[in-house]
Every structure is written in structure tokens, then in C-alpha cells.
Symmetry: C2
């Protein structure tokens, strides 16, 4: 069904007024917004129909109307006029990112924090996802008799390492044996193929060498696991308290501290830009919140996500472009860094 032009304008006006002021919008106010070209009665009729269709709701009988979640949805999909970022705004955002070191995690923390300042919302970012990566290099760097650093490099250029302390000295023989195991079992393997089962089989097959080698191999497996696990970065949690309802806020904060849950939520968002409004989200803790997630890329390949969590009453038209722009920046900075 198509809405008449006037109804659409009324709906937009109600949504934008409500986003701006947070109070139900009445027919008189709208009348003024239309320069009194139409009477309040006409607007009332239209509002009644919009409410019938489910785009608006009434907190109580004698109050104005507020957008329903379906209303926001229609607005975001169809009616909204995305704000265009000015040159100077773009420059401002750019300058807030001071990405120097080559560490992608640091960039994402920064981006997350910039986004929190920009949007006054809580922000989420995932570190690089790299599901198809394989292990391309493993290095064992000895630092002393019993200490070493184990370094793993993936085909996509991600590098992780961990310190490894042993109870016995690292002899040349041991190191050679370790590299042998690595070459035949790990190099070229997909990072998510390293499971505890394969690991147990491997250790079992080592026979009497197992005792000495397994600490190293287990550490190696842990590093690989860490690479395959996405990490979640949160910022601006205090912004959640700007929204009223303290009870809800506590629930939300607690929800956000469950990282596993968050990972799943973020990774369900597959599009370049995802807007999930209120109860569209399967998690009841988010029933009054909107989540906007944009995915960033490295050299055109999906690499992770960045986004905000806020009340359903957020300024979609200006926040979405900010998120998109920032995500673009992150994509290009990462693509430059990892070549």
C-alpha cells in the first residue's frame, strides 16, 4: 500500500521531531510545521490512519503520537534523507583517528572510541575476522634457557604471538623436533581446523617425545585459537545511561559484558550496513535499543564490523552516514597497512 505524499511528510515530521525532542508530537505542532497550510483536523485524520497502519503509537489517549518500531523501520528504509557529511566534518573525523602503529586492534579501539564520541552511543567493534586464513609461518624465538616466544603468521598477514615458559631447557634438538612437527602438521592448515581432537591425536602420535613437545604445541594451538576467535571492543558504555529507564540500562550493560553473545550478534549482521530496530532483535534485552552495524573490509574482503548500540530513538539520518564514513576509513587504513 502506498502512503499519500502528505501522510509521508507527516510521518517524517513526527519521527524527526520526536527524535529531536523526545516528546510525543501533537497535531497542532505539526500544523505549524506545515505553515498552517493544512488544518490540525486533517492532520489528525492522517495521524489516525498512520496509527491504524502501525507506524505510530500513542503513549496514552490525550498525548501526541510517537513513532512505533515499525514506523522507524519504514522511515529508515524508505523515507529517510541521509545527511551528507561536509568536507570539514569528514576532515574532523579523519583527524580523530591517529593510527600510527601497525596494530589493527589498536585502530579498532580508536575507531570505536571516536564513534562513541561522535554518536554519543555505546559502540562495538570486532577485531579482524579471518576464517579462511591458513597458517603460513611459525617461529620459535628463544629468549633464555627456558623461555621462548612463539609467533604465528597467517596467510592474510595477521600475526600473533605468546610467551612460553618451560620447566626444562630448550635444546637445539627439541627445537628441531618442534619445527618438524609444525612443518608436517600446522603449516598450510586452516586456522579453524586446529581442534582439541586433532591436537590430542597429534600428541598421542608423538610417542615419547610428547612430554617435551606438548607444552609448545599446546601453546601453538592456543595462539591459533586466539587468531580464529574474534575479539570485541566496547566503548562509550556510559552513553547508555543517557537513555532513561535505569532498570533497562543495568540489563543492557550486563548484556554487553557477555562477549560471546555480542560476537554472535555482530556476526549475524552480514550486509555492508545493518540497522536492527528494537524488537527486530531476537534478544529481549535489546527490545528498546537499535543496533547499527557496518562491516569493514580489507582489500575488498569482509574483515569485521563496527557499530553502535543506542536507544531506538536515535538520529538515524545523521548517525548512519557517520558510521559508514568511519567504516570506510577503517577499511582503507587496514588495506594500506596489510599488503
Amino acid at each position: 500500500m502506498e502512503l499519500s505524499e502528505r501522510k509521508r511528510r507527516i510521518l517524517v515530521a513526527i519521527i524527526e521531531k520526536y527524535i529531536a525532542h523526545g516528546e510525543p508530537v501533537g497535531s497542532k505542532t505539526l500544523c505549524q510545521a506545515f505553515d498552517n497550510k493544512v488544518s490540525s483536523a486533517t492532520i489528525r485524520n492522517d495521524m489516525a490512519e498512520l496509527a491504524q497502519l502501525g507506524f505510530l503509537e500513542q503513549p496514552h489517549a490525550s498525548a501526541g503520537r510517537i513513532p512505533s518500531q515499525q514506523g522507524y523501520r519504514y522511515y529508515v528504509d524508505t523515507l529517510m534523507n541521509k545527511r551528507v557529511l561536509s568536507e570539514s566534518e569528514q576532515r574532523a573525523i579523519k583527524s580523530m583517528l591517529s593510527y600510527r602503529s601497525g596494530d589493527p586492534e589498536q585502530l579498532l579501539e580508536e575507531a570505536s572510541s571516536v564513534l562513541a564520541q561522535l554518536t554519543k552511543c555505546a559502540t562495538i567493534a570486532t577485531t579482524l575476522v579471518d576464517e579462511e586464513a591458513t597458517i603460513s609461518k611459525v617461529e620459535l624465538v628463544t629468549l633464555g634457557q627456558t623461555t621462548a616466544i612463539l609467533v604465528v603468521v597467517t596467510s592474510k598477514g595477521i600475526i600473533k604471538n605468546r610467551v612460553c615458559r618451560l620447566d626444562y631447557p630448550l635444546t637445539d634438538k627439541l627445537i628441531t623436533a618442534f619445527y618438524e612437527v609444525v612443518r608436517s602438521n600446522f603449516i598450510g592448515a586452516a586456522i579453524n581446523s586446529v581442534s582439541t581432537v586433532t591436537l590430542q591425536n597429534l600428541v598421542a602420535s608423538l610417542g615419547d617425545r610428547a612430554l617435551m613437545l606438548s607444552p609448545l604445541i599446546i601453546t601453538l594451538a592456543e595462539i591459533v585459537h586466539e587468531i580464529s576467535e574474534i575479539d570485541i571492543v566496547l566503548e562509550g558504555q556510559s552513553n547508555l545511561l543517557n537513555i532513561g529507564s535505569a532498570a533497562n540500562a543495568q540489563e543492557l550493560l550486563e548484556f554487553l559484558s557477555r562477549r560471546e553473545m555480542l560476537k554472535r550478534i555482530v556476526n549475524e549482521q552480514k550486509h555492508r550496513l545493518n540497522v536492527v530496530i528494537g524488537q527486530e532483535n531476537p534478544h529481549k534485552e535489546l527490545k528498546n535499543s537499535s543496533v547499527i552495524i557496518a562491516r569493514y573490509k580489507i582489500d575488498g574482503c569482509d574483515a569485521g564490523a563496527l557499530g553502535i548500540i543506542g536507544s531506538t530513538r536515535i538520529d538515524y539520518a545523521s548517525l548512519i552516514p557517520s558510521i559508514e564514513y568511519l567504516t570506510g576509513l577503517v577499511s582503507s587504513l587496514l588495506s594500506d597497512a596489510i599488503e
Copy 2:
């Protein structure tokens, strides 16, 4: 001035009742707590005097009394009977720490999170402080033509590293030159002696090699700086919302996100156990909060701190022992790991 035995018991009863229930305590309730051995009138007289002395205050005229911050202070210093953790409680806490990897930061994150569950407060932990450490080893591990990992080891056994990407190939000559610079300028130096000034002088003195070497040297300096910087770990922030006053909570959460500030606060706490109650804290954002910080040690040397932030109305008598016990655990785990 000495308080009579009865006044002390009344004060203790009021404080513990108030901590338990959060409501002003009246003379009748106390009367029951004393098995009606003294009349409410007597208690009222004593309460009036305790209020006069500043240990109690009255929210309003017809309400009971609540402890003042000075009251809490006297309680913590003089009156409180610390709860003793039972064997099984100790075991429970121990089993919550699953410290496997050799990474101290991970242990502190875990400890912080355990403490948050235990106390239902927000928790703070600092990672290892190591002010007197010197640089004992630097390794450059090449991973490809233009990529390397730079590893720094301190005299105290702390290990940090960072990936370093260059715009030009890492030749043997370059590497030798780098090690030369490291040997004569960094090895043996105190980690906090590496300032930007000395760095600039160093780069200047390199002459025409500066261009090729400086990215490596700058990365090295950044790693050293990172070691000398303490990191702050926060957990259980959502617990702050249990306390009423949402306005205050927002302020607090924002305050906690200012890491620099937190570092200073935590490091001002020099004793083994520090209890800062409400306005004793110079930061006005904490005027309604108590901060309890315990320091942990490695092999007897001060190494960092661990603690909680909660309302002034917290159960000092049982939380303090928990914090102390956990801090002890962390100390011994760390002392075992770094030998």
C-alpha cells in the same frame, strides 16, 4: 575521646543493619537487637550523642539514623570485625581463577572479573608496574621481506613485542646496524629513561642511517614505553547501577573511562590495603563511593594493585577479606610464574 562500650555496640549495630538493609535504623529496632535489655529511650540518648560526634546522621527529622562517612571510617579502623573466609570459600575463590597461560595481564583480567562476581562491585586492577626494570634483551625476528617482530625483555622478565612493517626490505646489514644501536643505547637502560628527547638525539646521531633505522628504533621505544605504562583493567561496571541515583552512576561510569585518572588514583594507594571512603577521596565524582585497593607483590616487591569501587554502603567486613585473599593468590601465582 573514648566511646562507652554500649555506644560502640550501638554504632556497630546501626552500621551493620544499614549496610544490610539500606534503610535508616531507628531506636526501636536497635532495642530489639539488644534483646530489650536497654530501653529505646536510652538508645535514643546515645544515638543523639553519636550524631553530635559526627558518626551518624539523619536523612530527615522523623527518620532513623544512618552512618556518616566519618562513622564508616571509625567502623573500618576500630570497630569492624573482619569476617574470616572459611576453607571452602577459599577453595571456591581459588577455583574461579583458571590461570594457565603465562600471561600476567590475563591473570589480572581474570582476577578482576572474579572480584566483580564476588563483591558485586566494579573492580579495578593494574597490570604489572615495573619502574626499576631495565632492558635486558631485544630481539628482531624477521617474518618476511619487510615484516618483523620486535621483542623486548626486561630484567624482571616482562616480555612485550610488536609487529613492525617497513617500506623497504630488511637486509642483513640493516639488522646488524640495528643490533649495534640497540647494544650501545638500549641494553641495560632503565625503561623509564627512554624519553622522546633521548630518542631524538639518538636518531640525530645516526646520520644517514637514520632514515632506515628510525622506524625500528621508534617501534622499540614504543614498546618500552608500553612496558613502563601501567594498564588498567575494569570489570563489573554494571554493578555500579545497583546503587540508586542514576545521575551519579553516569558520572561514575564516565569517570571510570578516564584511564589516566584511574591510574593516578590507584597508584596513590601505597599501603598493602587502602580503604578510601567517600569524600576522603579528592575526586568529587567519588564522593558517594568507597574505594578499596590492595596491592599485590611479586617475590615480595610491590607489583600492582587490585580493588573495588562501590557505594560507601558496602559490606566492608566481608569484602575486605575477599580482596585480601584474592590479592594474596594473585601475588603467589605471579611469583611462581616469573622466576
